[in-house]
Structures are given as structure tokens and as C-alpha cells.
């Protein structure tokens, strides 16, 4: 379906995007094709129902959160650069790049460990106040456990989780506490999709 160079012309701001996210030209083309596929009405941007058309997402317990994460607050559509920027979080971490980025000239890339964790944190923290409250945690647990448990069990689990993680005793989990509770998990491996390398 046409050479990659002609496809690249369709992509707005391709060079800038590549630099910002670290994707190669081939990846960008592949993602653009996927974006095109999802965009059923060929509008050049994705709406909520385009995402909901992906059948597997409907079965996912946190599918609605993932979909909402693509939409910037207040906007109803997702254009290609936003699409790519979100997916850039899931690129495998490039250790060489982070070493160079330490110079301070460039901001941390989207797929650094901290930024990956920040993305996950925002999925918990729906009201974007920078903390995971007990109610937000309960909502996540309810979604994941899919009605198979009693309210009591949910409360005890949420209770215990907050006790374990909450170090400054404000009854919520801040981003730093979240990061600390996951320090033993290999996030670089876990939150990377090889397809996007």
C-alpha cells in the first residue's frame, strides 16, 4: 500500500514526533496505519465509540479507564500526535538514552520508569488530585474483582493496602508512596511492549 515515504507524508509533524517520542519511522507508520484502522469515519481523529469498537477492550475490567486515558482532559477527540504520545510510555526503556538525558538538557523521555509509573498512577487517580484516595482504590478493586466478592472483603483489602503503602499517614497514597510500593517490581520489563521497540 504505497511506499513508507508516501505514508510518512500523511503523518503531520512526523520528524518532531519521532524526536519527541523516540519511535522510529517504521514504527510511526505502523501506528499511523493502526490509527487509520480505528478511525472508522476517516475523520483524522478518534472518538469514544472508535475505541469502544475494539471488542477486547470491552472485556477488560479497566478498559474504560484506559480509553479515557487517551483523551486529554476536556477534549472529546484524540488526534494522532496524542495517540502516539500515550503509546510512547510503553516503549521499552532504552538505557543508553536515559544516561544521555541525565545532562539535564532534555526532559526525561516518556518511557522512563518514572513516567511509566506516572501514567499508571493517573489511571488510579481519576480526579487528578495527585493522590489515590480510599474510594478510588475501592473503585479499582471493584472493577478488577468483578462482583465476585462482598463489600466487606473489598473494604478489608483496601484497608490493608493503604496501611501498607501510606507512609505519611494522610490516608491516601501519593505518587511517591505508589512508586515506593512498586520498587521491587521490574517496571521497565512489565510496562513495555516489544512491538513498540
Amino acid at each position: 500500500m504505497g511506499s513508507s515515504s508516501s505514508n510518512m507524508d500523511h503523518i503531520p509533524d512526523a520528524q518532531h514526533l519521532m524526536q519527541e517520542t523516540g519511535f522510529s519511522a517504521a514504527h510511526l507508520v505502523r501506528l499511523y496505519e493502526r490509527f487509520d484502522f480505528l478511525d472508522k469515519d476517516d475523520r483524522g481523529e478518534l472518538r469514544l465509540d472508535d475505541f469502544e469498537a475494539v471488542s477486547e477492550l470491552a472485556m477488560n475490567p479497566i478498559g474504560d479507564r484506559i480509553i479515557r486515558a487517551f483523551f486529554s482532559p476536556g477534549r472529546e477527540t484524540v488526534d494522532f500526535p496524542s495517540f502516539v504520545r500515550i503509546l510512547a510510555h510503553f516503549r521499552p526503556t532504552d538505557t543508553n538514552r536515559t544516561r544521555n538525558g541525565r545532562n539535564g538538557a532534555q526532559p526525561e523521555p516518556a518511557n522512563s520508569r518514572t513516567n511509566k509509573l506516572k501514567f499508571a498512577f493517573q489511571l488510579y487517580d481519576q480526579d487528578r488530585d495527585g493522590k489515590i484516595s480510599r474510594e478510588e482504590l475501592l473503585q479499582v478493586l471493584r472493577a478488577m474483582l468483578e462482583m465476585q466478592v462482598t463489600e466487606e472483603q473489598l473494604q478489608s483489602i483496601a484497608e490493608r493496602a493503604i496501611q501498607e503503602a501510606d507512609l505519611d499517614l494522610d490516608d491516601t497514597i501519593s505518587f511517591d508512596e505508589f512508586k515506593k510500593s512498586l520498587e521491587k517490581v521490574d517496571i521497565e520489563h512489565k510496562m513495555s511492549i516489544r512491538f513498540l521497540e
Binding site: 484506559i66 487517551f70 493496602a161 499517614l169 512498586l182 511492549i193 521497540e197
Partner: protein
Amino acid sequence: MADPRPARSRFSPRLTAAFLCVFLLVFLRCASASRDVVSGSNETWIRPARSTQEDPHDHHGNSTEHKKAFPVLAFNFEHVRKPFEISMWILLALLMKLGFHIIPRISHVVPESCLLIVVGLLVGGTIKAVEGTNAPVLDSKLFFLYLLPPIILDAGYFLPIRPFTENLGTILVFAVLGTLWNVFFIGGTMFAVCQIDGAGLADVDLLSCLLFGSIISAVDPVAVLAVFEEIHINELLHILVFGESLLNDAVTVVLYHLFKEFSHEGSVSVGDALLGVVCFFVVSLGGILVGFIYGILGAFTSRFTSHTRVIEPLFVFLYSYMAYLSAEVFHLSGIMSLIACGVIMRPYVEANISHKSYTTVKYFLKMWSSVSETLIFIFLGVSTVAGPHDWNWTFVVFTVFLCLVSRVLGVIGLTSIINKFRIVKLTKKDQFIVAYGGLRGAIAFSLGFLLTDSKMKHMFLTAIITVIFFTVFVQGMTIRPLVELLAVKRKKESKGSINEEIHTQFLDHLLTGIEDVCGHYGHHHWKDKLNRFNKKYVKKWLIAGERSTEPQLISFYNKLELKQAMMLVESGSTSKLPSVMSSVSMQNIQPREPPRRRAMPSISKSREEEIRKLLRANLQNTRQRLRSYSRHDLMIDPFEDNVSEVHLRKQRVEMGRRVSFCTDSSSRNIHKLSLYYDKVI
């Protein structure tokens, strides 16, 4: 001699050593006595027959003087000889093991496997010197049918699944391609070496060299387990080397049989080589299939054992052993079959069997594998003394050298390919440990022993034994200082954390969702599909009762709560209590700050009831999860008999006093849990 109690600890190493020497002498005397009796027993059997014939004669003749008196004490060793000898050997092995752990200085430097081989050498040497005849050799049938399966089952049943499946590609590459490389490199180069004039090896043809290569190339799971157990390196390296040692069995089996068949014929055609490749797939996949079938059968059987809890552990052992034997019948890979059976069976069986049965399974597996391992190493030592040796300097030296070289080259070469596909790359340090951890062991020896008798066989056996000794002694002893020198990452001791579990599951769902958005059917997508299939169909069939619908998070949470309650009761009387409790709720409370009153509701009646219900329902079913795998450690089992009522009551009082310092309602929560737990015992 002041206090009897402290003095005991001072005396016991010397006392034990003396006792062991005495016991060794007694054992050797009995072993030689058994030999005397073997030759003598024939006469004793014949003599009674003759004497009964004579007796009527004498009876008629000089009656009363020749009448035999009723034997008050008789000596009939032949009757019990075989089980007696087996028990003596096992007892010796275990006493040796005991001795090493009491004498601390040596066991820090020298790994246990080396010490056991040395003991075997001593025993073999002593028997040879005393008797002049040969000591018992490590019989291949004994090894493959009785000594090896417990170790492999223990390894397979407790295999950490997540790291194994995450690194499966890498492990397979090392196991299959690495072993193939080793075989052909060593075989080919040895053939070239044999062509050198003056080495006296001209009669060794290419096929024999390749056969030798196939025996000596495989990394041995027993040796790897024995050495790596003690150095506690990080999970990734452990699973890479150990997984490789398990999965290379299929390659070894195929190549060994292939070359053995054709070493008689003298040449291998291309068609045969292709058949060999097909055979490899049949052997490995067939082995896994056999294990899978038996695993499902075992899981299904365990669903119905709620009324006969006592025999539950036996089902686990027998189904697994049958899987191994059935695979061996068809010359499939028994090791892979055993691993597959254990892995498949475990999640369902654990949901079904009682806590005590689970503990029994764990204890027995560890016990048998420990005994097996000890016996294997001792027999290796004894066989070294016994076996007919044919020492050929060129052959042996080149073998050892080539084994090292080919391993290093293989690992480096394969890693450069693998790293292109890995997300977390293998560093140079990792590669070094993987290369250095390629230990050879008893499997190589037994395979060599199975060869048909010839002059070449003795030469091969000598070389194999030398390589085994070299890897176990030199590499085994130096790997620990090297690990410390290179500052290789060690195993992280992690307590179970509900946060980690919640977030890991959350991330699983997240990654699956992102993969769906990308339209990419990756790792997470298939894992999610498998989980759904498992939850919807398989669990309903294989798990009894209401546990079949329990989500993983809930069972994890219950295990954690139970473990906490148990730990509190156990350690309540020691000063460790504050730190134990801190792992749950007290880590927030620093000793310098005054304890703050948290704005949390006190436990409602209904919640207390709920917790009680949870505990009651799950005390029979839940169990502690083994977090850090160590052969010699078993978690404290509160159901053991030595946890007496008095002990517990004292602990409760102590705990009550300490708990009253804290105003944390959650600590009261735990206190109530532990009180409830006391009532239950």
C-alpha cells in the same frame, strides 16, 4: 564442667565428628561382614539340609548327644541383607550431611556436594582397601528410576512460574541451541585431537566422539541445584541456568540415542539426521504431553479427596512418578514430563487439598530430594574409586579444556543473538555467571555407564568423572567468592505485599488493554486469554466447591492475613514483635513520634464476623506461600505439635501488653485475628 547446657554446644562438633568416625568404622565392618555372610550363607543354608538328613541317622545312633539345642540367639543376616544395606547407606549419607552443618567453618567455604563426593571417595577407598573387592557402583537403573525423579519433581513442583515463562525463550535457546553447539564443537574437536599421532587415540572414530560429546555437554540439574542453592543469586540468573539444565534433557536423550544407535553402524546419513530432528520434537512435546495428561488426572482426582485427606499427598507423588515412568517407556523425555506434571497439577491441587496435606507434600518432596542428592554425590565418589579407569592424558585434558571453552563461546554467541529480542538485556556479568554455572554431574556419569563395555568406555568414563570433579570442585567452590567479587545482584527477600499484587494485576490488565489498542497480539494478550479460559472452564472442573470461583486476589489476601496471624502468634514472646507487626501496620509508626490516632473506624461487629468467617473458611485451605526458595528452610508450621497451649497463652499475654501501647485499631484487628487463631488450634 559448669553448665551442662552451654557446654553441650561447645562439645558437640568434636563429639559428632568422633561419633561419625566410629559409625563409619562400624558401617564398614558391617559392609564387609555382609560380604562374609554372603559367601558364608550359602554354606549355612546347605548345612541345615544336610544336618536334618544326618539327624535321623544320629538319632538312631547316639541319640541325645548330637541333638541340637534350641537356638536362643541366631544370626541370619541374609534374610534382611538388601533392605539393611540400603538403610545403612542412607543413614550414613544423612549423618554425613548432619555433620557438615554442625561444623560451620567448612560448610562456608566448600559446597556440600564436594564434601559428599569426598566422603564417597573415602568410603569407596576404605572398602576397596579392606575388602580388595569393588564397592557398589552407581547403578544406572537405580539412578534414573529411583534417585533422579524426586529431585526433578521437587524442582518442578516448586518452579517459580512467572520468571520461568517470562524467560522461556531465552531458556529454550540456551537449552537447545547451546547444547547442540556444545555437542558438535566438543565432538568435532575431540575427533581432531584424536587424530594427533602419539596420543594413542587413533581408534576413536567420529561417531564415538560425537557420542561422547552428547554425554558430556548437558548441564546437570542436580549439580546446578546443589551449588546454586547456597549462593542465593537473583531470580533471573537462577531460573536461566536451572531452566536450561532441565530443558536440555530432551536434546541429550535424542542425541545420545541417535549416536549410540549409529556408532555401531559407523555412519549417519542425512535421512537419519532429519529423523533425529523429528525425534527431538516428538521426545520433547511427547514428554510434555504425557506430563500434562497425568497432571490433569491428578488435579481431577484431588477434587474428590475431601473425605480421605490422609492419602492426598500420595496422589501427588504417584501421578507424578507415573508420568515419569510412562515417558521413559516410550523413550520420551522423563524430566520434561515430570516438570509438566508438577506445574500443571500444582495450582488446582493446592486449592483442593488440606493444609496438612500440603505441608506433607512439601516436607516429603524436600526430604526425598535431599536424600537423593546426598546419595548421588556419595555414590559418585564411591564409583570413582571402583570403576575401571583408563587414564589418557591427552583425552582428559582436552576434554576439560574444551568443555570450558565451548561453554563460554556458546553463551557469548547465543547471548548476542538473544539480546536482540529481550527487553531486559543480559549483561556481561550475567553471561559470566551463566557460563560458569554450566556444571556437569551424575547424569553424564550414568549415561556413560550405560555404554557397551569396551576400552573406549573406560576412557570415556575417566574423562567424564574428571570433568564432573572439575566442575563441582573448582567451579562449585569458586562461584561464591566470584559472585561476591563481581557484586552480582542477590535474591531479594520480599515479604508478600498486597500492594504489589494489586498493582501487578492492574498492570497486567493495562498492558493487555494497550496491546488491544495497538492491535498487537502479544505476550499479555495470550496470557489474558489463557487466564479467562482457566477461570471459565478449567477451574470449574478441577477445583472442588466454592474455591473454584475465588479470584486470585482474594486468595492471596487471605494467605497474607493468615500468615500474619500465624507469625504474630509464633513470635509473640520475643522482642521481634514490634518489627513483625510493623510489616503490616506499624511501619507508619516511628519510635520517635508519638503514635498518632488514625481517623479510622473501629472494627464493626460485622467486619469482625466477616474476618472470623474468612479465617474459618480458609484455615483449612489456605497456606503460606514459599517466597524465597531454599532447600534447607521450611516455614514455621504452627500446626506442629510443639506449639503447646501454655506457650501460646504466654505469648498472648505478652502480645496483649505490647499491643496496649498502640492505639492503632488495625493492630487490634490483628490481635483479634490472632486470638481467634488461638481458639481454633
